[in-house]
Structures are given as C-alpha cells and as structure tokens.
C-alpha cells in the first residue's frame, strides 16, 4: 500500500502546501533524493565526463555510467551500449527520424504512425517524409480511444520502413497493444519505435520482452531532471546508423581531413551532456524502485478509477477515451464551458490541470473539440486531490455557466 503522505514528505514542492498537482503527464515533481543528487554534483563533483583523467572527472564519469546501467536495468535492455542519453523524448525521436530516416527511407517509402501521437511523434516523421519524398500513413483510433489494429493490414506494404507508435496516449490514457503490433511489424521485417513518454512512469517496461527496435522516454516525466531523456535502440541498429550531432565526445580521432567516430553509445552523445540531470536519472529510478512499480500501478489505477467515477457523477462531463486498458490521464470537458475558461478558474483555485490541445491536435480533431482539460496522475496523488478537483469543477460550473 502506498502512503501518499509519506511520499509527499519527500517532495519539497508539496511542503509549501496548498497546491493540487494534477499535471504529471506534463512533468512530475522531484523528490529530495533527485534534488540532492543534482545539488551534490555541482557542489562536490562538477567536472566534465569522459575527458579528463583527474579525480573529479573520473568520479563523475563513473556516476554517469552508473546512471546508464540503472536505465539499462530499469527497462531490461540487453547492454549499456543500447542506452543513449538525450535531452528528452523529442530529441530521441528526432534522432531516429534523422539518422535512421536518412539512411533507410527513400522516395515513395512509407512510415506508419497513429492518430493519437503527441506532436513529437508526428512532426519529425512529417519532416522526414518531406525531405525524402516518403509517405506518412496514419493508423486511426475509435471514439473509445482504441487503435483500429485491423487497419494495420491495409497500411503495411513492402514500402513500410518504420512504425512509430506511442505506448500510452497522453490524452486518452489508452495503453496500446504494442507487443502485438511489434510482432506483426517484425513478421514483415519492419522496425518499430515506441514512444514511452507516458508509459515509463506508470508501467513496467521490458524492452527485451517487447522486442521493439527503439524505445524513447523523458527523465522529467519520471521524477528526474528536465533536459534528460533516453533513446534505447537495439545494438544492431545503433551500430549501423550514422551519428546525429557531431563534435566533442563522440570522436575517436580527428584530423582536418576526416574523423573517426566513437562506438555506441558515445557516438550519439556529442558535446557535454546534462551531467547533473543524467545523474538524477539514477536517483529517480532508485526512488521509483524503492516504492515498486507494481505498487505504483496498483495505486494509480485506484486513483484513476476514483477520478473517473467522481467525474462521471457530475452533470455534463464528457470524458475522452474509455479504453479497457488505460493509465495515468483523464481528459474531459464540461458542458458549455470552454476548456480555457475552466482551466483559468481551476488555476485560481490552485488546482493544476492542463488545458489546451495537449500537443495532440489530431486527437482534438477526432473528437471535434477545441481542447480539453486533463488531469494526470502520479503516485503522490490521492483521493483528496480528486475531491478537491471535483469541488473545483462544481465551482467552475457555478461561475462560468
């Protein structure tokens, strides 16, 4: 059983009291352990990594690589070499769209995404298709928020070069049957990239079991620092891909005529990374594992169920997405109230929910709405947060209708 009071005492932002934070899909709050790690790095360890032979640099490099090992274990990757640190999910997808795309995607080739992707998993592929004159195909979803998996059969052709799909929708909360899709794609030799930005903090992820070719996620959505992310890629792919950015840290030998690149993972980590942030990754993983992914899932499911149930008790609430497999987020609108108006008023009541299109405009288009309110959960949320939100919504209804 998760004791949210105890957990909250680890999060300084809640010490000031008063705020109901239900915008965890945008970013999660940070526990003391993560903050301490960042602070300690700058106070006691500050140096550049993988460069100097002095004590600080050696120690920082060791800790940096310990973070990589922690990530490797957390997602059950086969080897540390398969874990690339990035600035976030967005950079990781851009890296693959650029490096894989420019090498393997040619004119008239096809990329498949879904209609429930975050803009970060749409735009890089759009740009790739434009650059290389390829075709972007879209797997639709139904009103319930489930992907129409059967349609995949019409979309997959011998021209398909990549399927890029989110594991969990940042608007609908749907957990997509990615294992099935990966299996199907592989039967045609098509690689699959999974956007794990909204799944990594809620579900146990095992990239070995999923067998996906690429899996990407952000640190800041799983209690670590902003400006950190992971690109997991199968070794066989990462070895073949050209580097993304070039510069210091990713080269073995440079002359003015040519350069020899580092092996993976450093080949993809040009320049000085966000060292403090990456170190905090391990602190965040340790924190999560200390609570336990199973416990987290159980608790969040309970709160999510309660939230949905209480919302539906209110008159005129429409919830988007009602898949049997959901986690993390509940998006909704109030009858006759623009989501912006509702968001502004809730904000005045110190209730942090997200309003707008959630960087997923195609999802808004599907439901024909200008935007939605979204409450998204983390393990520190409890029934009381939900109750305060519900009271807030009742107040919004009184003020704005």
């Amino acid at each position: 059983m998760i004791d949210t009071d105890k957990i909250r005492s680890d999060f300084p932002i809640f010490n000031n009291g008063g705020i109901v934070y239900l915008d965890n899909a945008a970013t999660t709050q940070k526990p003391e352990q993560v903050l301490t790690k960042i602070d300690k790095y700058y106070r006691e360890l500050n140096s550049n990594i993988h460069r100097g032979e002095h004590y600080l640099s050696r120690k920082a490099s060791v800790e940096y690589e310990e973070s990589r090992t922690a990530v490797k274990k957390f997602i059950n990757a086969g080897d540390e070499r398969e874990v690339i640190f990035t600035r976030g999910t967005t950079e990781a997808i851009n890296l693959i769209a650029r490096c894989y795309g420019d090498k393997y995607v040619n004119e008239k080739d096809e990329i498949i995404i879904s209609n429930m992707e975050h803009h970060s998993n749409i735009v890089p592929w759009q740009r790739l298709c434009k650059r290389n004159r390829a075709v972007l195909k879209v797997l639709p979803f139904n009103d319930k928020g489930d992907l129409l998996i059967d349609r995949l059969e019409d979309l997959i052709t011998e021209k398909t070069k990549m399927i890029a799909l989110t594991q969990v929708s940042n608007v609908l909360g749907t957990v997509n049957p990615i294992k099935k899709i990966i299996h199907r794609a592989h039967s045609e030799g098509i690689p699959v990239l999974i956007d794990g930005a909204q799944s990594i903090q809620h579900l146990s992820v095992d990239v070995g079991d999923l067998d996906c070719d690429f899996f990407v996620f952000s640190g800041h959505k799983m209690y670590a620092s902003t400006g950190t992310g992971v690109l997991y890629g199968k070794e066989k792919w990462l070895e073949k891909l050209p580097p993304y950015e070039t510069g210091g840290g990713m080269v073995k030998k440079v002359s003015l005529e040519k350069s020899k690149f580092e092996d993976i993972p450093l080949k993809f980590e040009a320049g000085t990374p966000n060292i403090a942030g990456i170190l905090s990754f391990k602190a965040a993983i340790d924190y999560i594992q200390n609570i336990g992914m199973k416990e987290i899932k159980k608790h969040e499911e309970k709160i999510s169920k309660y939230l949905t149930q209480e919302l539906l008790k209110l008159k005129g609430v429409e919830i988007y997405g009602n898949s049997d497999e959901r986690v993390g987020v509940v998006s909704f609108n109030l009858d006759g109230i623009h989501p912006y108006d509702a968001g502004v008023l809730l904000d005045r009541m110190k209730i942090a929910v997200r309003t707008g299109t959630h960087c997923a405009q195609p999802v808004m288009d599907h439901y024909g709405i200008p935007g939605a309110l979204r409450a998204s959960l983390a393990f520190y949320n409890n029934e009381e947060d939900v109750d305060i939100l519900i009271e807030g919504i009742k107040k919004v209804n009184r003020i704005a209708v």
């Binding site: 109230i337 108006d341 502004v344 309003t355 707008g356 299109t357 200008p370 935007g371 003020i399 704005a400």
Partner: protein
C-alpha cells in the same frame, strides 16, 4: 484624445478594484464575455486567426472616417471578456492614438496574468497585432475610404508591393 483612452482605462481600473475577490473578477469578465456581441460574417478566417494552444482569437480592422474599427472574437468566454475591455479602450480611435497608447490598465488589474508566457499567444499577440494594424493605417488617416487592416499589414511586409 489620448486623454479619452486613459480615462476609460482609469474607469476600468476603478470598476475592477471595486470587485471583492477573484471570483467576482472572473464573473465580471465572464459577464462581459457573454454580452460581447457576436462578430459579423467573415471574421473567422485563417488570416485573422491568432491561434494559441489555449483558446482561439480572431481579429480584423478597418479604417472608417479616420478611425480604426476593430472586430474581434474568441471561443473562450474569459478571453472574450478581456477583448471587450480592450475594444472599449481602443476601438474607434485614430491610428496614431492607438499606436502611442500605453495600456496600463492591463498591468494594474488581474488581467496581467493573462499576459504570462504560456498564454502570450493570445492576449499579447492580439495587442501587438492591433497596434500593427493601427500603425498600418497611419498616413492614410484622413482618407475616408475603407481600408482593410490585414491588407495594410501585408503591404508592410512587402507582399503587395510598395504602395505606402
């Protein structure tokens, strides 16, 4: 004439300072939003759209008898209420007055929160565009013919040649 802009601003500040709390403040904005007259035909075009992540705004303007007539609309009530206040201050003024006006009432009321970066695609963008359009009318101030604000901006961007 500038005095008139400032007098109205002072009136608005007084009205708002008479409100008890944030609930009253937003009820006031929402009431203004509900009373805000529906825009006529042809406002909601792609060209007139100032799109934010949060709510959509449409704006156009024309010059009539040397004065700028704005038309604006939004899909959100609070935004519409704010638009009503801005139009109360700036509508039907000479281009020069609009361009040199300082809209201090926004900073002296709770409205400034709506200027925060997250929402800036809305309110700050509309203020910027209103001044740009007024500025585009300058020099044509005495001509009685109707001139579309959007078209003038295009001229300023050089798309319509050197008609200035």
């Amino acid at each position: 004439m500038m005095d008139e802009i400032n007098t109205i601003q002072d009136n608005i500040i007084e009205e708002i300072s008479g409100l008890n709390d944030w609930i009253d403040f937003y009820e006031y904005l929402i009431k203004l939003g509900k009373e805000f007259k529906a825009a006529g035909e042809g406002l909601k075009t792609e060209e007139n759209l100032i799109s934010g992540c949060q709510s959509s705004l449409w704006l156009d303007s024309e010059l009539k008898n040397g004065r700028v007539i704005y038309r604006a609309q939004s899909d959100a009530l609070i935004t519409r209420g704010i638009l009503a206040l801005i139009l109360r201050v700036l509508n039907n003024r000479r281009p020069g007055e609009i361009v040199s006006s300082e809209l201090y009432f926004i900073y002296k009321t709770g409205l400034k929160e709506h200027l925060s970066p997250a929402r800036s695609k809305g309110l700050s963008a509309i203020l910027k565009r209103m001044k740009e359009q007024a500025s585009g009318f300058m020099g044509t101030g005495q001509t009685p013919e109707r001139k579309k604000g959007v078209g003038v901006i295009k001229e300023r961007n050089g798309k319509n040649g050197e008609s200035q």
